[in-house]
Amino acid sequence: MKISHNIVIGGLAAPASALFAFPAMPAGLDLSITIPQIKVAEYHRPYVAVWLEQPDQPTARTLSVWYQTVKKGNEEGTKWLHDVRSWWRKSGRSMRFPADGISGATRAPGPQKLSFTAGKGPLGTLAPGNYELVVEAAREDGGRELVRLPFAWPATPGQTMVRASGKSELGAIALSVKP
């Protein structure tokens, strides 16, 4: 898969691919988010939001939201979206759910891949500048964690991979910025 390829090869390959792979690999963001295995008696998959923000900008651009999309009992899963509290304040509370092309079901532990193409879908057109991709996870009967991955757009050679890791609710996160 081209996404995992990029992440494995990392910063070494990306400048080269930027030169040669323009038609095959459109500009955009590839993201791998590892949902950690957590050994508890009653495990619920976390709600996760992924968004972009810029320094000194109060608003944000939501790229992806994972929540319980199936009604359980008499309560809709949207009832708990506000628990992803930083995202809810920055972006979520102004959205409607389900959000076409953005929201989906919660995901299982392990690496989860996302790919966003510049000019399309939730990523849309990004003005050149400094950004942070933010990943926030909140789990029922568990914790909440937020991880930030700063990057510049468009990507510059040698700075195409950003890696970070959470400590509790999020594992390794790798962001490939494709020019």
Partner: protein, 270 residues
């Protein structure tokens, strides 16, 4: 529902408890203030006690409470009951936006001298019925108009404007009261009859009094434009109170008007 049962007199049942000046503080405790989903519920406790949010004295009694939806319409209070220490009721949030939930007390308080003894007027009087309570032959009748507002705000989805009524002492958001985060100062404007209220003293007390040695009370004063900026050292519930006295009476026999505003604010973690 409950509201429709309220009579004007019953709505004023608490009037003779001018909470501004007394040790027992009235408070509302909403179960949540920031909510998501197509619909949701909040449950609200209402009581008066020395320390805000500590249930050890008296309930604030129904009726008189009401809730207003983001579109301005009044919505019913559900599952209401009054226990030994608190009144509780639920509000079903079915509209996206900000709800106002609370109690407005508007009436007459006062006293007179009879046979050399000062007597207080009973609770719950209005402009229309207070004179029935003043016997003939009394002297030194002292009357005050009282307009107290005790309300809190909850938001389903995106916060929406909270419009002032233009009557009495009110808070107007500069920072929305459902957009408060520890470490970020918030600014509110205070109005009296819709006009800025400068030099107004604002008292703030955080929740959790039982688990610390002092009240942690802080005081702020509004500036010349009626605005005040408050910092929130920690997440949690905060009780806010302001009082004012003026001579803008509508009843000629009243010598003053006493105004009160109380709210409960929830500050979230950053």
């Amino acid at each position: 529902m409950l509201r429709s049962l309220a009579t004007a007199a019953a709505a004023l049942a608490l009037l003779a408890t001018p909470f501004a000046a007394e040790a027992h503080r009235p408070w509302l405790r909403p179960s949540s203030t920031v909510l998501s989903g197509d619909e949701s519920w909040v449950t609200v406790d209402a009581a008066a006690s020395t320390d805000p949010f500590v249930l050890d004295h008296q309930p604030l009694r129904l009726p008189g409470f009401a809730a207003w939806a983001p579109d301005g319409h009044e919505v019913p209070l559900e599952n209401a009951l009054t226990g030994r220490y608190r009144t509780t009721f639920d509000v079903h949030l079915t509209q996206q936006g900000s709800y106002r939930i609370g109690l407005v007390q508007n009436g007459i308080a006062g006293s007179y001298m009879l046979n050399g003894e000062q007597k207080r007027l009973p609770r719950g009087l209005t402009k229309d019925n207070y004179s029935d309570q003043i016997p003939s032959g009394v002297t030194d009748v002292a009357l005050s108009e009282v307009l107290n507002r005790n309300e809190t705000y909850v938001t389903l989805g995106q916060p929406t404007p909270l419009k002032p009524t233009g009557q009495g002492l009110e808070l107007v958001p500069v920072t929305h009261p459902n957009d408060l985060v520890a470490g970020e100062p918030a600014t509110f404007a205070f109005l009296i009859d819709g006009k800025p209220a400068p030099s107004l003293s604002i008292t703030i007390i955080p929740d959790g009094r039982r688990y610390r040695d002092d009240t942690a009370e802080r005081r702020f004063v509004t500036d010349a434009t009626g605005r005040v900026t408050i910092d929130w050292p920690a997440p949690g519930l905060y009780w806010l109170n302001a009082t004012a006295t003026d001579a803008r009476v509508s009843l000629p026999a009243a010598k003053e008007r006493r105004l009160g505003y109380t709210t409960t604010l929830e500050v979230l973690a950053p």
